[in-house]
Homo-oligomer: 567 residues x 2
Amino acid sequence: MKGVQHMKWWGWGLDGISFHHEDKPKFAPFVRERVGIDVTTPAARPPLRFEELDVPEPRLDDDLRSTLAGLVGEEYVTTDAMERVVHTFGKSVRDLIRIRRGELGRMPDVVVYPDSTDEVARVVDAVVAADAVLIPFGGGSNIAGSLEVPRGETRTVVSVDLGRMNKLLEIDEESGLALIQAGALGPHLEEQLQQRGWTIGHFPDSFSHSTLGGWIATRSSGMQSDRYGDIADITRGLTMAMPGKVLTLRPLPSSSTGPSVREMVLGSEGRLGVITEAWVNVKRVAEERVVLGYFFPDFATGLEALREIHKSDATPLVGRVSDERETQFSLATSKKSKGISKYVTKGLMAYLTRKGWDLQKLCLSFIGFEGSRSHVALQQRLVREIVTRHGGIVVGKGPGVLYDQKKFDTPYLRDFLLDRGAAADVSDTAAPWSKLKPLYDNVIAAAEGAFAEIGCQGYIMCHLSHNYHSGACLYFTFAVAHEGPGVIEKYDVVKRAIQSEFIRSGGTLSHHHGVGVEHSPWLAEDVSPAGQELIGGLLDFADPKHNLNPGKIVHTGTPGVSVLSEQ
Amino acid sequence: MKGVQHMKWWGWGLDGISFHHEDKPKFAPFVRERVGIDVTTPAARPPLRFEELDVPEPRLDDDLRSTLAGLVGEEYVTTDAMERVVHTFGKSVRDLIRIRRGELGRMPDVVVYPDSTDEVARVVDAVVAADAVLIPFGGGSNIAGSLEVPRGETRTVVSVDLGRMNKLLEIDEESGLALIQAGALGPHLEEQLQQRGWTIGHFPDSFSHSTLGGWIATRSSGMQSDRYGDIADITRGLTMAMPGKVLTLRPLPSSSTGPSVREMVLGSEGRLGVITEAWVNVKRVAEERVVLGYFFPDFATGLEALREIHKSDATPLVGRVSDERETQFSLATSKKSKGISKYVTKGLMAYLTRKGWDLQKLCLSFIGFEGSRSHVALQQRLVREIVTRHGGIVVGKGPGVLYDQKKFDTPYLRDFLLDRGAAADVSDTAAPWSKLKPLYDNVIAAAEGAFAEIGCQGYIMCHLSHNYHSGACLYFTFAVAHEGPGVIEKYDVVKRAIQSEFIRSGGTLSHHHGVGVEHSPWLAEDVSPAGQELIGGLLDFADPKHNLNPGKIVHTGTPGVSVLSEQ
């Protein structure tokens, strides 16, 4: 649609941007050794060409089409094949595998582009009146299956793309609140704020291709959540179009009105309605922002240092530490001349060896600071003291600059690997500090067990991100080599092993990717069966005929088995 | 009940503790001038004696009685008149007026004291099976009518007192999490934590007489919420007995599982079930804690300084500023030799007058700091710089020490005033910074208008407490003189004027006292009609026959008119 930016129909990001290994000399040997595939040969498994896709005819009767056209304008209602394909999936590796193969399944029949809360509200009412299905669409970056059309769905499926609703409407400068339309993509939203000296401070990995409405609908967290909070903290008010009514929550710093309606909308994944705009906390762009690199002798030490930092008076912007596996990956993806590996000098490594470090266990960490110059300087001192007391060392600003440059690039790697015979994705959790290291060990063991079970070489790595008083998020990335068919089934064995271990080890099903269909098998274990019933009861009350993004969040199949695997 | 501490049946706090004016020479003249009553004469309107109460026979059949006795033990099931009276009301001024007059209305028929989650779960099931009504009881300090039995209730009413469930069960020292039973009163809970070097940091005005379960059920906030968070932030996991099931939320620092079940329980006021225990954030008792006093030339300046402090890099423990009305009240309640007024020296006042201050507009402020010594010193410097830039002055530690000594005493004043012909209570709200001063002005005007309307002399005063990035809480205290009957109706006119102005001026119906029945007329305006429907739908789903604390939160009468006034 003109004026609305979408990602590649078959993969992550924009056309013309992709991952390259040629300028990263250690990458190919690393992947050959750890994942067992050769990435130096040309892509052996490219996606189908668009012309090869078998796009089914849309199921849309003239009545609904003309009603929708009457509400948003003829030019903003489309059944164009490319439009429908773009709105079919999110960007989980399962989605990528299916779309590359042309396995479209039951897909949206029509895409509409409303331009106001009022238009969205009318579209919602029209869809419900026609007993059709409505799936809200923001940036399409979801990896939990939250955009999935249930396979057996016989009703007309309407994808409501918020892409035209992308404006910063108002800043309350005194309060530090901004009213922004839900369809605004991260960069566009942030650009409008920064022009006036403000920032939302919310930078998820998907930032370039995800929207404010999507962040709220999936309870997203950004890399700087230690300072700015999760989207659940940042969102102070909102508007959501629901069948027959519009929910309006005015911006409030806090309230004792419970059960919290704001928290019902957060993470509702389109099942209660379509979020159209939100009041969010914004802050003045800070005088100074610094991200420093650190090394720890091993992951346990890194975790313990981060824990102590978040029990101290220090208030960092971001705190992150990679395990040795991810550290080795980072070094392997380093560019020849200007990558992170230039900080791993022979002299430094010799020094660390003399200190007694096992360099195979080296862990890379990033900790960032923001505020006035004096505040940033003080925070650096407080953190340095804790890091060095734990036997870590400060590497300096260079790695932090690289971190900032590369922070949104990782998702591109999945397409590159799929082209060459490996499936990669992420799973994240949060747990109390006391459970993090055992959880980490158990998840690594579970993944290794799953690799053995499916008979494929695989790799799993992890970093701690997002710190809280009582615990933190562990963010795992994993890849499995595969041959031909069965890759989704194999991927499922690994994903299921990891997710089940999250719950078993005291973590949540996902720290910041929502429930969708991908994580719904673990909902009852996460919030207990009584909690799942409460969620289900709320959703069913608001949408008794399941017209709104049906099948998400509450799972009705076999516990512990992905809905998608059963299809 | 043996081992369970209750407040006076007719008033606030413990027997033998009450407010005295004799040691506060400015108090009587102040009240005579501002509220129009003479407090120097003996109490002219004491409460009835207990023997004078007309306590109706309990409506409890033998089946339910023996079932309950079988579940919790014969000695923990009581229909004793005093027990039933103690469990009849909370402690709003409406409650106090009614109980002093012996207007008990429909009251609990039986009180049970379970001792475990399992016992509570069985009691819930038994009550629902008998189609009776269950009202959970913590400390009984609620001022929103959350303990009220609906007047027309014909079913047996069972008050479930959590008082025996008062133990600290476990501390996860690595994570900073404590598992505590819901019936633990503030001081007992804090004592058990402090013995091991920890604190929950949650100190609402009601701290001495309220419980963890009550705090969660009403979305409470403590005085130190700027550092420790509201109870909604502090509560990380919990257990709640529901009909036929037990909800268990494991302690998690954060999660993207939405809609948040944790946030459904927070503020649910017994309508979803009985909270039996919770995992809460706890922190190590800080090395240093300091509360300093400050003066501002007027309230607007004080608000602006607090706002700027919370936009800066400073992270205070508590930030509070009184308007000139409350400042004058504080000075009037100052003890002769050692009260706050000793800091209002002639020399200082002369200096401030020379600076151009209008001493009638003087505003007292408290800002507190906690952490390591160096952190506290730095915070004091950061805050002093902002305060003085706004023309405020640092008064020093003395007032802060007095603040800490007196902080839980204010509620006793209401009984003293009722004895002498004035009704006083509080109403609080939260709003964005940009709306605070207009809201304040509008609420003062609305209250003055209400005093005129009812033809009674009255007084209203305010302080800012609880600061957030985007706004703050304004906490109003008001008193009206009254003669004989009609006092509740007169009080209602004032309360309604204040609450309506909160909403009209962009605030929430209550920042930290919940909805109950007292605030439910404003629910639909607070969260919009669609939001009220979502809350109602959730509550009805979980409790279709309204066995659990019926009538709370969702109002079904005339908008803007208190349910209680209509009875």
